[in-house]
């Protein structure tokens, strides 16, 4: 912790991804988030740093935890938060993404939180608006606040990130969480592994900064952190993997497979979990699981992101 977190400013207008963030910026955000962890455990959780600011949560893909996490984060910092979900939006009526952006921009929001099913959609929108934009997940590209909350969770439990061995397991191909985590963990000097069947690994995976394994026993050896990913239902019945039964047999994290990792290895999952598909209930609820702590860190990290971006806004 090299600088005073209370004065940390993210000197950029948007947070579109982990890509491009320096280790100093990542550390700055995590340090600031630590303050909010403390705040969030108090009865009085309110700050006023975003008072007068308008935050719009624009979710083109349904989300429970990320959207509510951003909503709480904005409210605790004093912003006026408005949720726009796709069901109510005019996108359903045929409006293009750009028109939606221009319409919202005319309402003078200060921060737009956006999730969209298409990779690159958040960046596209960010070019059309005058406010700050935070990527809450774009397609299979990035989910930066998830990677930051994962990093915070790891750092609080292991005391560091550098030189830890982190195994990311499962559907790497379709996972924006995996991509953001791979970038962040590499920036922070961790050793990153990707484990999954070849059908769920992206092309040229080894070029993305990971060591690739197709077998849990080898891939989990000496791992400090085991990060499981969600496998979507439509992908588990013969298209990418043959069946739930086979997937769990070879890639589901149960107590036997967890023993391949270090004895003090910790288990993470971005949620929502498919118990019995990628993770067993015993592991998900076990002593080595950090899954519920990740949710807590989510609010703190999002407060840090909002605060650090707001400090860079005009008239701040």
């Amino acid at each position: 912790m090299t600088q005073d977190p209370s004065s940390f400013v993210l000197k950029r207008r948007h947070l579109l991804g982990i890509e491009g963030l320096s280790p100093q910026e990542i550390t700055g955000l995590l340090d600031l988030a630590e303050e909010f962890v403390t705040l969030n455990r108090q009865i009085e959780k309110k700050r006023t740093s975003l008072r007068g600011r308008t935050q719009i949560n624009l979710f083109f893909e349904s989300s429970t935890r990320t959207q509510s996490s951003f909503e709480l984060a904005g409210k605790r910092l004093g912003a006026d938060v408005m949720n726009m979900s796709v069901a109510q939006s005019s996108i359903k009526k045929g409006e293009t993404l750009i028109d939606t952006a221009l319409t919202l921009n005319a309402m003078h929001p200060d921060i737009l939180i956006m999730r969209h099913a298409a990779s690159g959609a958040v960046e596209l929108l960010s070019k059309k608006v005058d406010c700050s934009v935070v990527n809450a997940g774009d397609g299979t590209h990035e989910h930066p606040t998830q990677a930051l909350l994962d990093a915070l969770t790891i750092r609080r439990n292991k005391g560091r990130i550098e030189r830890l061995t982190v195994a990311i397991c499962g559907d790497i191909l379709h996972s924006r969480v995996a991509r953001s985590n791979i970038i962040l963990l590499n920036q922070m000097q961790a050793r990153v592994r990707a484990i999954g069947p070849s059908t769920l690994l992206p092309a040229a995976a080894e070029r993305l900064g990971v060591e690739v394994f197709r077998d849990m026993k080898e891939g989990l050896r000496d791992a400090d952190i085991v990060m499981m990913l969600r496998l979507q239902r439509e992908r588990m019945n013969g298209s990418f993997v043959p069946s739930v039964q086979e997937y769990f047999h070879y890639f589901g994290l149960d107590e036997t497979k967890l023993r391949y990792a270090k004895p003090d290895a910790l288990v993470m999952h971005p949620g929502p979990m498919n118990r019995g598909v990628e993770i067993s209930t015993a592991v998900a609820d076990g002593a080595q699981s950090l899954i519920r702590e990740q949710v807590e860190m989510g609010v703190a990290v999002r407060m840090a992101v909002l605060e650090a971006l707001a400090r860079n806004l005009p008239n701040a």
Partner: protein, 434 residues
């Protein structure tokens, strides 16, 4: 399977060991179901009194055949063939291992069915039986099966039988996934759209018979696609049934590139051609169809030079009700496990394929490809053996076939070379004289 209680010396045989590439006159000693020793030094006088001796009179003794493509009707089509009838036919043909096919009812696409078959084989079979499982569930060509669990249960490879996986994305994903498990994909390369209404090789003869033709491109286009997917995915790939000269060039090029590609030809395509259909003989209707004599000769050369790795029977028992029909309506398929070796010896007698190359394609290569023991006369290998008089002339009467179905294209054919005895794990499972 019980082993012979007494050691057995097969004396004075021509030991043909395709794995070693040798042909030696001598004896072979079987002890506890295993090849204990072999060579010219083994004679009845050199051996102890506890050893049973069987005089072979210079007949060929070779590794038992491993038939990679042999349809058995269990489960679901027991009226066509059972494990008991198929393995009896196999034993009489010198075949000591059959690999049954998944086009059963239900399809072999579930580990429980693999388990069922292996137990049925243990209880009712007299030769080794290993199942191939389906590539896609219900052979529907859409969703891949549980390659990992099926392989753990005992499936030796994956095939959709006589169906092609037409969707290239499904095939790509299946190959990608198969590679993780080092699973072998065995594919019938025939584009159903190009087959269309065709029932035999496209060409002059089909035109004269007024039958719909199947161009060789139905095979070569699918095969080319597959080879490119192998290059993309790195999967182990085996072309189940190559029928024409053009396909040989594709296989040869893939091998030159170092791709993990192998190929098989059926005994039918190696010994018959489209003219054998004659006046609409439905027993010569097979899939893919019999091609021209030029193709047949090219296929024989390819077995000799190793471009084609494996010869299979493509044993497919068909009921009279499915064969006693107009040619276009009859089902494809021919029985063959019992006649594969005598028919294949035609190639040896014609000077097209050397004896050891033939046995390599009939035993050593398929055993190696499937990771099964056998295919060799080396000490320590299981005593799965065939004793064959390669010069004995005889005429096949299909009514004597042990298969439940008699749809043999070799009915009344003159054959030279006949299986005298077959041993599985040292136990005699067939003897011509007995």
């Amino acid at each position: 399977m019980t082993t012979s209680p007494r050691p057995l010396l097969l004396a004075d045989a021509l030991l043909v060991d395709p794995a070693a590439g040798t042909e030696t006159r001598g004896g072979l000693l079987i002890r506890d179901g295993i090849i204990a020793d072999a060579g010219p030094q083994l004679t009845p006088s050199s051996i102890g009194p506890d050893v049973e001796v069987m005089a072979c009179g210079g007949k060929v003794l070779a590794p038992g055949l491993v038939d990679m493509r042999c349809f058995v009707g269990e489960p679901g089509y027991e009226y066509r063939e059972t494990i008991a009838s198929a393995t009896a036919a196999a034993a009489a043909g010198g075949v000591t291992t059959i690999v049954c096919q998944p086009a059963t009812d239900p399809v072999i696409d579930d580990p429980a069915i693999v388990d069922f078959l292996l137990r049925r084989a243990r209880d009712t079979g007299i030769v080794h039986v290993h199942p191939m499982a389906a590539i896609t569930k219900k052979l529907a060509g859409r969703e891949m099966t549980e390659f990992g669990l099926l392989q753990e249960a005992g499936a030796v490879a994956f095939t959709d039988g006589a169906r092609s996986v037409t969707d290239a994305l499904v095939m790509r994903r299946a190959m990608t996934y198969a590679r993780d498990f080092d699973a072998l994909i065995v594919h019938h390369t025939e584009d159903p759209a190009l087959v269309g209404e065709g029932v035999m090789n496209e060409g002059e003869f089909a035109s004269r018979l007024g039958l719909g033709g199947i161009p060789v491109e139905a095979e070569t286009i699918m095969l080319e696609r597959d080879i490119r997917l192998v290059k993309l995915t790195g999967a182990r790939y085996h072309a189940a049934s190559i029928t024409c000269r053009d396909s040989l060039a594709i296989i040869a090029r893939a091998k030159t590139e170092g791709l993990p590609v192998t190929a098989a030809v059926t005994i039918n395509h190696l010994t018959l051609n489209e003219n054998d259909i004659g006046s609409y003989r439905t027993f010569c209707k097979v899939t893919p169809p019999l091609r021209t004599e030029d193709d047949r000769l090219a296929l024989a050369d390819a077995v000799a030079d190793g471009t084609i790795d494996v010869v299979v029977s493509d044993h497919d028992p068909q009921d009279v009700e499915t064969k006693r029909l107009p040619f276009a309506e009859a089902y494809p398929g021919a029985v063959g496990v019992e006649t594969m070796l005598p028919a294949a010896l035609r190639l040896v007698h014609a000077g097209l394929v050397p004896l050891h190359a033939l046995f390599r394609a009939l035993s050593t290569a398929p055993a190696a490809l499937l990771g099964l023991p056998g295919g060799s006369l080396a000490v320590g290998e299981p005593a799965d053996l065939v004793l064959v008089d390669i010069d004995e002339p005889w005429v096949l009467n299909r009514d004597t076939l042990r298969s439940k179905c008699k749809n043999s294209p070799f009915d009344e054919a003159r054959l030279t070379g006949r299986v005298a005895a077959t041993f599985v794990a040292g136990r005699k499972v067939f003897s011509l004289s007995a």
